[in-house]
Symmetry: C3
């Protein structure tokens, strides 16, 4: 197994933590029990990265080879479970975490796809799937409409962030600069979309 | 990465287009926004082929290596989005596209599975999963009961088409003849099932 | 392709049969037609093992290489379909089968993960996913809340069983003893949880 770049691992582990918080929070809001909280935390936190590694053929996925990935979701689930009375007051904080996780995973996924030799457009797709996959799995398991299909801008910041990583790579920007800018772009655009209630257009329909 | 046969690529790309139309149409009917239309188009169009390539261990999947796969869903999504007032009048046309896509993907999937060295029965299974996978993903994401579980014949034409491909291979029929016959068989049986309202039997239950 | 251990194959095929019964039974209860019964039987029976083999990079998965895996779900589906009037009276028997399947798949999955060189903690995770994956796929396709998220202990016996396999391996217990004990532990704990209505705790919420 080829060793993934340190940059990918750091982005990944931060993303795992904040997405685990989002999954555990949804589980508490849905009144699932302690193990439901752990399952949704792990699904949200690890789903996107596992999907990425399966698509890239890097198997077993990082989440099963590097023990740090598996340690993070239980910690996040325990935090949310024990401090659950705070969760209802943390709506805005949860959205911050989710937006941060989206940025981190998009940057990690696009970088790893380029490292694996994919062309720019497929690398953007893999980056977006890495960012979106865990949330989709979390929402499908919990029986709610996946966040990416809801009527607020979610896919747009992901695509923008992935394009930043690909552009930085094409311009041969050294070090983690491209990834850091990508995380900030995703985070800023996503939070603006939430706070200003931005929507994408809906198709016209006869009589609609 | 071994080069897939031209026959598989042609069947695949036609199938990608018609299934992308089906995903985009469902998204418009569900009143999703522009990016929801794109996501469901891509899920329906690429889900079956990606599932096939993951199962065959041909990674990264064709959809991430050959740029043509990724270009088709946005085109189909844009067509459906801009001409959406027509969509409601296109119910029968959409069913035609869906039946054509099922035939194309079953033929492509079965052929690729045989090329990968699978035995006839697993090749039939992979062919059916290729034909059905994208539609199941589309329906689960959109929160509707997957088409293959609804009470109209959907799996039967898929199995028949896959068996035609396997039989043509066993009889050493040269060229694309077996695949073309398979596509026509799937299309014809599926359209007959829809137009004549054919059903598979349901299990008896006490008092049912 | 490396030959899987005989122990894994035996555990796997028994698990395939009992989980296929569970999928077919749910399909009859949901009034799906004959092919829906077959699809849910196959999804429940093969989903967990295919997920395991994808994660371990052992592709194509055993279910597509060894013909015995594909023969079992149709048999189970036919049994349930033809004897469906009995199904309503078999509620307790179905739970027995499901608990047995969970034990068999957890033992098979954990053993195969260790054979593939995974560390103990990831092997436990893969074992649990093997046991739980088919049931989750079955429930998501059927549009019901996945069993692992419902408020009865399901994940706990899976984790315990996987830990037994890992411990037996670490203690260099020879032969199938560890796996057999693991199956019995999962089965016993799961049936106790069902019969005594054991629950995991739920997070406190303000005003909840």
């Amino acid at each position: 197994v080829r060793e993934p770049a340190t940059l990918v691992v750091v982005l990944d582990l931060l993303g795992v933590f904040v997405f685990a918080l989002s999954g555990a929070t949804l589980a508490v809001q849905q009144r699932l029990d302690a193990f439901g909280v752990l399952v949704l935390a792990a699904a949200a936190a690890l789903g996107g990265g596992v999907l990425r590694d399966v698509l890239l053929g890097l198997l077993p996925p990082a989440a099963l080879v590097d023990a740090r990935y598996l340690l993070v979701p239980p910690v996040a689930a325990a935090l949310v479970f024990w401090f659950s009375p705070l969760v209802d007051r943390l709506g805005p904080a949860v959205r911050l975490f989710d937006a941060a996780g989206l940025g981190l995973f998009v940057a990690a996924g696009t970088t790893k796809a380029l490292d694996a030799g994919l062309d720019p457009v497929p690398a953007v797709v893999v980056g977006c799937l890495t960012g979106i996959g865990g949330g989709v799995l979390r929402d499908v398991l919990a029986g709610v409409v996946p966040i990416v299909l809801r009527r607020e801008l979610y896919a747009v910041p992901a695509v923008l962030g992935a394009v930043v990583v690909v552009a930085a790579d094409a311009l041969e920007v050294r070090g983690p600069l491209g990834a850091v800018v990508a995380v900030l772009v995703v985070f800023a655009v996503r939070m603006l979309a939430v706070s200003r209630d931005w929507h994408a257009p809906v198709a016209r329909r006869p009589g609609g």
